[in-house]
Amino acid sequence: MRERSIFAIVIISMLLLVVGYLAATQLNLMPAQASTRAVLVDQLFHVLVGTAAVVFVLVEGILVYAALRFRRRAGDETDALPIHGNTTLELVWTAIPAMIVVAIGFYAYQVLTEIEKPAPEPMVVEVIGRQFIWQFRYPGQGVTTQELHLPVNRPIRFEVTSGDVIHSFWVPQFRGKRDATPGRVSEFLVTPTEIGTFPVRCAELCGPGHANMTTQVVVESAADFQAWLAGEQ
């Protein structure tokens, strides 16, 4: 009987690892990656998806199995066994999740440090949220626009603030947002890596026009960006 239990545990563990691996590598749940931080965030995300899949299948599996296997037989009005606990089991199911969250915490901290590492010479763009538009200022260039243009592969430091209520500056393909708070300038670092046009959406309820407080970010070659900038001046 013990050999059968160990065999079952081994098989189930292997199946769970397969489920986790498949979930981590095959599930495409994020939008396109258009920045350096997106790549790192997605790696963390996929590791969590794999872990979550294992935990989910394991726990739900136990639940469904137990519900089916330990149904009361018709006519049986007696009680089951008076089992109150099992210290070893309880220590294991305390220690293992603790180790998992510690590992995830460390990995997340590592990713965070990496994606927020200041670059030596970023290009600064001021982002001002107002009900219900986005304004982008290129300091030193005398340019203020409502459509964000960025040169590809250049580190950008967004300095985000608001002219009225709290908004939040979000480009899903960049993976990250920063609240636009009046009276405060908040930094947000992005290095765009893909040429293309991506949505900019407000992610903090700011009034009746919140859903329409959208614009776009155009990531283009350095030459195209300079041409556009010159045209705006």
Binding site: F70, P97, A108, V111, I115, V160, V165, S168, R178, R201
Partner: protein, 542 residues
């Protein structure tokens, strides 16, 4: 016997429920019925929101109306339904479960209830003067600038916080001073432990929200500038004060619910709860840790980057006591003799759906991921899985489980199962698509969205309509069974906790003779455990 059935019998004693009555059982029913009414109102608001979001493009609500509906949906559901309904269960059950005749402060108990209907009316009346429209989170400065209804909202929430606070004082005093002879702390039912852990949070956190609401009200009506950045104030101050309460609030919304399911699993597995002390201690751990995580709602706020780290750590650590509870519940039903009554079905549904909410909480705790999904539909999905899939499932489990005790009649089991299936399918259909919508780029609290999210939103709306319909079999079942259902015996479930060792419904004095407790509440399977571990020995000084 006839006096006790008349006590809860409709037509006979029903007028008591509309009066100032100090019997905790009457107050408990007042809470349960009143809050359920607000649940339906909050649900109606949700149906309107989901109807607007069924398709992209403006349909029948403009941005202002939409924001008002979503704000009051959240506010009604949290402050007028889930927090007080669990207090209602606490009110009805705690004195019975500990073997006392009532709560420590019966008049204050009645006050706690009677603060709720006026507060609810004030919040709903705000629709006539321009309802609150800044979300249930009411971030300043937006919430300083919105019309008059926002002030009414703040007043309403302050009143409800007071009700909750008074309740917590009552629960703690009752449990500490009025337990029956032999009812040691380690023999308390886990629902009582849940109420204790909850009360700790209510006592410590509610005053901070109240203070914040006073500042909001003063900025709105008295010309103060607490949250005005251009005048030396700080909008972030509101976020800290708000979330210092509102994060523990979500544990206030789930700890009693976990207590309910902890009562249900042993009875319908005929097996003791597995890891009783671990579950009790985990409740306290979640409560205490819950006071240390609030800034995980502020990772994108521009707060000092270094300060975010401790909040990530504490938010992840909370997964450990939560996991202990889930594994202990599974071990309870493992090797049991499971009976799939409606309360048990809802309790099992609780684990499966709360698990999804809990797992996605880890994603949110990881700062790099939160920076992407904060304030998106990922969060909306997460919160509804824990609050609706979790707490509301547990509330239904409790309503069915204690229905015979409270009303003296049995509900219809087949209708209960129909309700369960519709609720389970509806919940998953409504909220699973929202995870994807959030990840792919849909912000929350939007009255309109990019067409790429159309299919996901349509699915969510259809699920929501199914959920809306699913309450109908429950309401029919509850009303008809209460009026004319088959009479229930004192202990139809053969449970070992004290509330089942007295009549259904209990007599006004709860127990004909105060019990003397000689064993724990979940001693199933012992040859000597007899339903009625309470012995008919008159306690000294009774």
């Amino acid at each position: 016997m006839s006096m006790s059935t008349a006590a809860a019998a409709p037509g006979g004693g029903w007028r008591r429920y509309f009066t100032w009555n100090t019997d905790h059982k009457v107050i408990g029913v007042q809470y349960l019925v009143t809050t359920f009414g607000f649940f339906l109102i909050g649900g109606l608001l949700a149906m309107l929101v989901r109807a607007e979001l069924a398709q992209p493009g403006p349909d029948f609500l403009n941005g202002t109306e939409f924001n008002r509906f979503l704000t009051n949906h959240g506010s009604v559901m949290l402050f007028l339904w889930i927090i007080p309904v669990l207090a209602g269960f606490g009110n009805y059950l705690v004195p019975l479960m500990i073997g006392s005749r009532d709560m420590a402060f019966p008049n204050m108990n009645a006050l706690s209830y009677w603060l709720i209907p006026p507060a609810g009316l004030i919040m709903l009346a705000s629709f006539f003067v321009g309802a609150a429209e800044a979300g249930w989170t009411a971030y300043a400065p937006l919430s300083i600038q919105t019309p008059v209804g926002q002030t009414l909202w703040a007043v309403s929430v302050m009143i409800l916080g007071t009700s909750s606070l008074l309740g917590a004082v009552n629960f703690v005093t009752t449990v500490f001073t009025m337990r029956a002879e032999g009812m040691t702390f380690w023999r308390l039912p886990l629902f009582v432990w849940g109420m204790l852990a909850t009360s700790l949070l209510v006592l410590l956190a509610t005053p901070v929200l109240t203070a914040g609401l006073v500042l909001i009200a003063m900025d709105r009506v008295a010309g103060t500038l607490f949250f005005s950045a251009s005048n030396g104030g700080d909008p972030i101050l509101w976020q800290n004060m708000f979330w210092f309460y509102s994060h523990p609030a979500v544990y206030i919304m789930v700890l009693p619910a976990m207590g309910i399911v902890s009562e249900v699993y042993p009875v319908f597995s005929r097996k003791p709860i597995f890891g009783y002390k671990a579950i009790a201690m985990s409740s306290m751990a979640i409560s205490i840790l819950g006071l240390t995580v609030w800034a995980h709602h502020m990772f994108t706020s521009g707060m000092d980057p270094r300060l975010r780290i401790p909040y990530m750590i504490s938010s992840m650590i909370i997964a450990v006591p939560t996991g202990i509870k889930i594994f202990s519940w599974l071990a309870t039903i493992w090797d049991g003799k499971i009976r799939f009554t409606t309360p048990m079905l809802f309790a099992l549904g609780f684990i499966s759906m709360f698990l999804i909410g809990g797992i996605t909480g880890i994603f949110l705790a990881a700062i790099p991921i939160d920076l992407h999904v904060h304030d998106t539909y990922f969060v909306v999905a997460h919160l509804h899985f824990v609050l609706f899939g979790g707490s509301v499932s547990a509330v239904y489990a409790g309503l069915y489980y204690w229905f015979p005790k409270i009303t003296g009649r049995m509900y219809d089991e087949r209708l209960g199962k129909v309700h369960f299936v519709a609720n389970f399918v509806g919940t998953n259909l409504t909220y699973l698509p929202m995870f994807l919508a959030g990840l792919l780029g849909m912000p929350r609290r939007v009255s309109d969205y990019s067409p790429e999210f159309a299919t996901l939103n349509l699915m969510a709306t259809l699920g929501a309509f199914l959920l809306g319909t699913s309450v109908l079999p429950f309401i029919y079942n509850a009303v008809v069974s209460w009026v004319s259902g088959p009479k229930a015996v004192a202990n139809p479930w053969r449970s070992l906790t004290l509330e089942w060792q007295t009549d259904s419904p209990p007599p006004a004095e709860n127990f004909h003779q105060l019990p003397v407790v000689t064993s724990g509440p979940y001693d199933y399977g012992q040859p000597t455990s007899v339903p009625g571990q309470a012995q008919a020995v008159p306690a000294a000084g009774d």
